[in-house]
């Protein structure tokens, strides 16, 4: 059944699948263990989980392995996997105040209650390539760990404490408030398509699952002048927060902890009228894992999307939210690789007729024109004018 191309299609797919597997394993290096990826590629997996909107470090590691380290492709796999599971629980609202803090800084004040805790960061390291890692051995690792552990007196370690929020200081002084009302409905954009104007809950949810690079570009554009949000980091914290759900017996149960990054970006809120005080307001960023660029840019865009009257891209809800989902953007831009010959043929048919009309018109205008037929003036415009519909 079917003519020649049929067999070719299926076979080519199967062979391509084998070939890509060949390129993954051809050098016969030892198989990468999930544990290794999970431990040593922590930040890659954090980013994948954030963009995949799915917190599961082990599966993040598996996805990363499966796709030879392509982060966006791995995030895509997590999202598709998520679609196979049913949602049984809604957690209690995360309490980031009681976070097990691993890192917490503020740019607003030099000293803050609890102090500036740098935590695990490469911000102040020089980005020089470290050739010592080329010959890293288990002995090196053990030696480092032993030395690291010895800096703490294991018999009397300090108590774990939590940290007050910088924004609470400003709020207590009455300096922090939103001067414009906001749609406070809580919607879930995975259950219904977003509608515009989108309530803030939908915007925050979409930004939390957006692609890091996408919101970074837009957040940056806003700071550079296209949107006028240039905030201060009120507080940036990274750490573990408890997740609690209600079990079938109706009891509140602890089910584990997840790592998140939280950014509170302080800006001046727009004033409502002449007499209004320019209060501070925050742009809020929160995402899975340690991904500070993302949390900061989410905070910038949260603010930028509440800025009225400025028509920069970063202020435009539809522009920002429709174009920063990495999985969707990747899918559609790469679908250009699919055949389009039917649509192309349809446009071609129009263009040929238009060209014929033009030539006929030129001929009618008189015989003075050169014998050489002129090229059509704007051949490309036929497709360019209607780019969306040819997909």
């Amino acid at each position: 059944m079917g003519y020649v191309a049929v067999k070719g299609g299926t076979e080519a797919i199967e062979n391509a699948t084998d070939l890509v597997e060949f390129y993954r394993v051809r050098d016969q290096t030892s198989p990468v263990q999930l544990q290794q990826l999970q431990a040593q590629f922590r930040l890659a997996i954090d980013k994948i989980m954030g963009e995949g909107s799915f917190y599961a470090p082990e599966y993040g590691a598996l996805a990363l392995k499966q796709v030879e380290g392509d982060g966006l492709e791995a995030a895509f796999i997590l999202r598709a996997f998520r679609a196979t599971l049913s949602r049984k629980y809604y957690s209690a609202i995360l309490d980031t105040k009681s976070m097990f803090v691993q890192r917490r800084i503020s740019s607003s004040f030099r000293d803050i209650p609890g102090g500036q805790v740098l935590g695990p960061t490469r911000d102040y390291t020089q980005r020089l390539i470290d050739t010592r890692l080329v010959d890293e051995t288990n002995e090196h690792i053990r030696a480092f760990l032993a030395g690291f552990a010895s800096r703490i007196d294991a018999a009397t370690p300090g108590e774990v404490t939590t940290f007050g929020k910088v924004v609470d200081i400003l709020r207590a002084q009455g300096l922090l408030k939103e001067v414009r009302p906001e749609d406070r409905r809580v919607v879930d954009i995975t259950r219904e398509a977003v509608k515009f104007p989108a309530p803030r809950s939908a915007r925050l949810q979409m930004l939390a699952r957006a692609e890091t690079g996408g919101i970074m570009a837009l957040g940056y554009s806003s700071m550079r002048g296209h949107g006028g949000v240039h905030p201060t980091v009120g507080e940036l914290r990274v750490g573990l927060v408890d997740v609690k759900v209600t079990d079938p017996a109706g009891r509140n149960r602890y089910i584990g902890r997840i790592r998140v990054t939280e950014a509170e970006m302080i800006t001046e809120a727009q004033t409502a009228g002449k007499e209004a005080v320019p209060y501070y307001a925050i742009g809020y960023g929160l995402c899975f894992g340690q991904n500070e660029t993302k949390a900061i840019c989410m905070g910038i865009l949260d603010r930028a999307l509440r800025t009225e009257g400025n028509r920069a891209p970063a202020n435009d809800q539809e522009f920002v939210l429709y174009h920063t989902d990495g999985i969707e953007a990747m899918g559609f831009t790469s679908h250009l690789k699919l055949p389009h010959y039917v649509t192309f043929q349809s446009g071609l048919s129009n263009l040929r007729e238009a060209v014929d009309r033009e030539r006929a018109a030129k001929k009618d205008q008189g015989q003075s024109s050169t014998a050489e037929p002129e090229p059509p003036e704007q051949p490309a415009v036929v497709f360019a004018e209607n780019p969306d519909l040819t997909g």
Partner: protein, 302 residues
């Protein structure tokens, strides 16, 4: 010792979970109740990339049952690599019978074509739609296009078509030619060629449209008026293949692919692969009834 299985992934019948299927089904009913109107839906992630047929798959997988016979075509061909991949996915998750034979199929998913063979009331055609909004070219904001549809305010669209006429001497919309459904909504028929557009009008079968990335579903029920946008003096026309014969079957009067060989000379082949197979087997399948096709076929007889 306790040892339960980890990484124990199992997929639901037709992949999508039952709760989401119900949501999609309710939205499909609404789409049928308001022909041509785009219903927003959740559009869950699929293991197929956005823009590669996820909307069509959502519809197909919410509809499909064990008794269905499934056919999928991409740009007219059952053999296109993406069609092969999606067919394999549907078969793996449903165990359904698949076919290339248009006549035998109960559920057909298509990217960018309606079959040359007519479809009956026992068949459903599901389109994969890249951009469901016919007004996007004239208005970039969803909030505004929603308002325009709500108020049936299509002035901008008409102006744009008129400008095209003034500039190029014709309406230059190619594939995805905008239509009006049930004399109310302007709709994108998905990027089918104009050749196929008249077949949407008063068909026997149900047409469903899924735009996954844009999260919209819409429908054209059977026996529904679907008219391409046109002016009194600038009429809708289908593509023309005057005097062109299929290099394989010798047939005329079907949508053709234009092929170029090494020497850059062109030949044409019937685009619809199943239709071509049937022509080659001297099995002339029943055609759609529409005046544009009638004119072409009558011209051949003459």
């Amino acid at each position: 010792m306790i040892a339960f299985q980890k990484f124990n992934t199992q997929f639901n019948f037709a992949f999508i979970d039952e709760s989401t299927k119900r949501e999609i089904r309710r939205k499909l009913l609404k789409a049928i109740c308001i022909p041509g109107y785009q219903v927003p839906y959740s559009s869950p992630e699929m293991p197929i990339a956005r823009g590669w047929g996820t909307g069509g798959l959502h519809v197909t997988l919410s509809l499909i049952g064990r008794q269905d016979v499934f056919k999928i075509i991409d740009q007219g061909s059952d053999a296109s690599v993406n069609a092969c991949n999606l067919r394999d996915f549907v078969r793996r998750t449903t165990d359904c019978r698949t076919t290339f034979d248009t006549r035998e199929a109960t559920l057909i998913q298509s990217r960018h074509r309606i079959t040359e063979e007519t479809l009956s009331e026992h068949q459903i055609l599901v389109f994969q739609v890249p951009q469901p909004e016919p007004l996007r070219g004239v208005e970039r904001y969803e909030r505004k296009t929603r308002e325009m549809h709500g108020e049936a305010d299509y002035a901008k669209m008409w102006v744009s078509l008129y400008e095209s006429y003034v500039k190029y001497g014709d309406i230059m919309e190619g594939a995805g030619y905008p239509v009006k459904v049930n004399e109310r909504y302007i709709m994108s028929p998905s990027p089918i060629p104009r050749w196929d557009v008249p077949n949407l009008n008063h068909s026997q079968c149900l047409f469903l449209f899924g735009a996954g990335r844009e999260k919209r579903l819409y429908a054209v029920p059977p026996h529904t008026t679907v008219t391409p946008l046109e002016f009194e003096d600038v009429r809708f026309r289908t593509e023309k293949f005057p005097g062109i014969r299929c290099a394989m079957s010798g047939a005329e009067g079907a949508f053709m692919d234009e092929l170029y060989g090494e020497d850059t000379t062109s030949r044409h082949v019937v685009n619809d692969s199943d239709f071509l197979d049937k022509l080659l087997a001297n099995d002339e399948p029943p055609r759609w009834e529409n005046p544009y096709l009638r004119e072409v076929l009558d011209g051949l007889d003459g």
